[in-house]
Symmetry: C2
Subunit: 394 residues, 2 copies
């Protein structure tokens, strides 16, 4: 195991009927809250009313900032910072999924930056985050684990750059996870959530610098099985509480630092390339990942056959004793499963023209330089994207 620091202070309030606690939790951190949310789905599923009632009962002043879209954009974040400053909010509450939470995180850090600072410098690592307003979340889409980690991803429209920040200052103080909120999540987004969480874990599983991570491997495998089973039950019955609850907690644990602690440096090449798809075509992150991940796996299989074979045997009960063949079978089975739950597994299915491979490669290559993934030059990236063109198996 590599040396590591593990510190995850977010308080999780989990379960049915917990949204009403948001008011008292906010009240402990401030009196004037910026309420960040999305395109209004929380007004149809009852979450908005529950949150507002609770905040009102706690006598907190609310400044609303709606309109976050999936693949959230910098221009909207900048408006949020401006509003937060003008209204002198002292705490931020995000009610939504990863896009809303990431927008709120960036606003929280942005408000504390010098007014002359270019917020985008945080994303290109030119400037360091030195503080943030306290942030709380009410989670409505389980996938990103942003509710219990220190990262945020934002797209700068100009240049189509989907980049990320990471700082303990933007880690939520409290997150409320009520699985009943997920009952109204569409089958498509329920599937994308599973893809996202599985990809988070598999990037750590395969792309670490620790050769002997048996403890962490088992955590990943246990969570992955749980996510797969839960997703299948959810697609049969969107109101299956147990499945929604297992899914909600498993996706949080999938990317809150638990499965990667001790695994050394983690690279996220599938995320890196997917960011280009989202940035260029505005497709849902999970849908982009189910296209890219199998393509990346096919590229990486010959480099790590033992580990790919392990995944195939543990998750898909593949019995082939040859590691390469077993690994390839596992990749095919994962791809089939992504298809089965309704997430695309080729550029074709997402209506992304094969002619665009050069453009996608160039965009991803720029991010590979920012993230320091020096093994991912243009040729490698192009090879991976090429693997993602059609539905053919490994």
């Amino acid at each position: 195991m590599q040396n590591f620091i593990f510190e995850n202070p977010t308080k999780i309030i989990f379960g049915k009927g917990t949204i009403g606690r948001i008011g008292s939790e906010v009240k402990q951190l401030g009196t004037n809250v910026l309420l960040v949310y999305g395109q209004g789905s929380i007004k149809t599923n009852g979450v908005y009313d529950q949150v507002m009632t609770s905040l009102r009962e706690a006598a907190v002043t609310v400044v609303e900032f709606p309109g976050v879209k999936s693949n959230p954009v910098l221009s909207h974040v900048l408006k949020g910072i401006e509003l937060a400053r003008a209204e002198r909010v002292d705490v931020i509450a995000a009610v939504g999924g990863g896009s809303v939470i990431d927008t709120a995180k960036t606003i929280a850090a942005g408000v504390m930056a010098d007014p002359g600072d270019d917020i985008w410098d945080f994303f290109t690592y030119k400037k360091k985050i030195c503080g943030a307003l306290p942030l709380l979340t009410v989670l409505t889409i389980s996938a990103s684990a942003s509710e219990m980690n220190a990262a945020a991803v934002i797209t700068k429209e100009d240049g189509a750059q989907k980049y990320s920040i990471r700082s303990p200052y933007i880690q939520p103080k409290t997150s409320i996870l009520d699985p009943t909120v997920l009952f109204s999540l569409s089958p498509a987004y329920s599937a994308y959530s599973a893809v996202d969480a599985i990809t988070h874990m598999l990037e750590g599983y395969f792309n670490n610098t620790e050769p002997d991570g048996i403890l962490q491997d088992r955590l990943v495998e246990g969570l992955m099985k749980t996510i797969m089973e839960s997703t299948e039950r959810i697609l049969e019955d969107p109101h299956d509480y147990k499945a929604r609850a297992n899914m909600m907690w498993a996706t949080t644990l999938a990317f809150n630092g638990l499965t990667t602690a001790g695994m050394g440096m983690i690279a996220l090449p599938a995320h890196m390339i997917e960011h280009s798809l989202s940035a260029l075509y505005d497709i849902p992150h999970g849908a982009g990942l189910s296209i890219i991940l199998p393509g990346w796996m096919s590229y990486a299989l010959p480099k790590k056959p033992v580990k790919f074979a392990r995944l195939a045997r543990e998750i898909f009960d593949v019995i082939d004793s040859d590691d390469i063949r077993a690994g390839a079978a596992g990749i095919n089975r994962l791809k089939q499963w992504f298809s089965f739950i309704g997430s695309p597994v080729s550029l074709d299915e997402a209506d992304i023209p094969a002619d665009d491979i050069g453009k996608i490669t160039e965009n991803a290559f720029a991010l590979s330089r920012v993230w320091g993934l020096k093994d991912y030059g243009r040729e490698v990236i192009a090879e991976i994207v090429e693997n993602c063109k059609g539905r053919q198996t490994v």
Copy 2:
């Protein structure tokens, strides 16, 4: 999944060569530290020197409080509180295993109590802990997970009561886990550590109020396999860093709230009865648990055959399709494994007379009332202890 709150803010600094960070970590919380440690093993394995050098470099004033014994006692805690008050310490550092950390936790809370308060009232739940000095730990025995939880266990000699407290105030702020420190841990204590951590998890696995904890079950099974494999490697080579590291992190995760979050109320009947063995005979906690746990399992098997069969199949690859028979086979295999690693599995082996079953039962029954385990009356406890007399299998 049951509703739950998960909050575990302890910062873990893990790995080779991390002990030197204790000074700067202490310095962030205070300037006058009470250094709590045990019977002096840290002076022979080099840990004491590393800690003192680091504290000196951080210009922290050190008040030493050594002499904690395993199964730590109230009278010693009271001396620590007196010393901490007299020297006006503002932070506490525990360098040791669970006994040292639990002593330090109780001192931390005791210092902040009213001088007229009876500290034991915290343990009988007559009084609530309302504050504590900040606590840091340098872990030298991995077993209790006290380094990353909010609990402490202390024995009151008068009356032979081994009772516990739990409060977020006594949760360590920072814990330093350097696996190389474990190289000098004896085979016996390495084995007892494994027993303790496994028992922590199995109590949650079997004694919860949530019928469908598949996510948590898998976490337990993954950690348990890792602990068993690591212990076998450690007994072959005490300097196996990978095995010591996996063991150190797995035992922390085994009782830091992770595997029980969402499982409802957790009862600890094996711990309850073991506390009587430790209180009455001063045997190591792990040794007591390897005697009691299989006896409790034999008692509980007919009540939860499906779950016992699951453990047998997942951990020991038992293939019997009959749940009761599979469960019994699993219990036997666990008992054999405890024996194999050198931990006793009968009262006999620990030189505890069979005639004392009445005395043990009476002591455990008193604790069952304090802990509210109303299913554990005198008859049930006596039946379980009876199961622990000899080495016979289920």
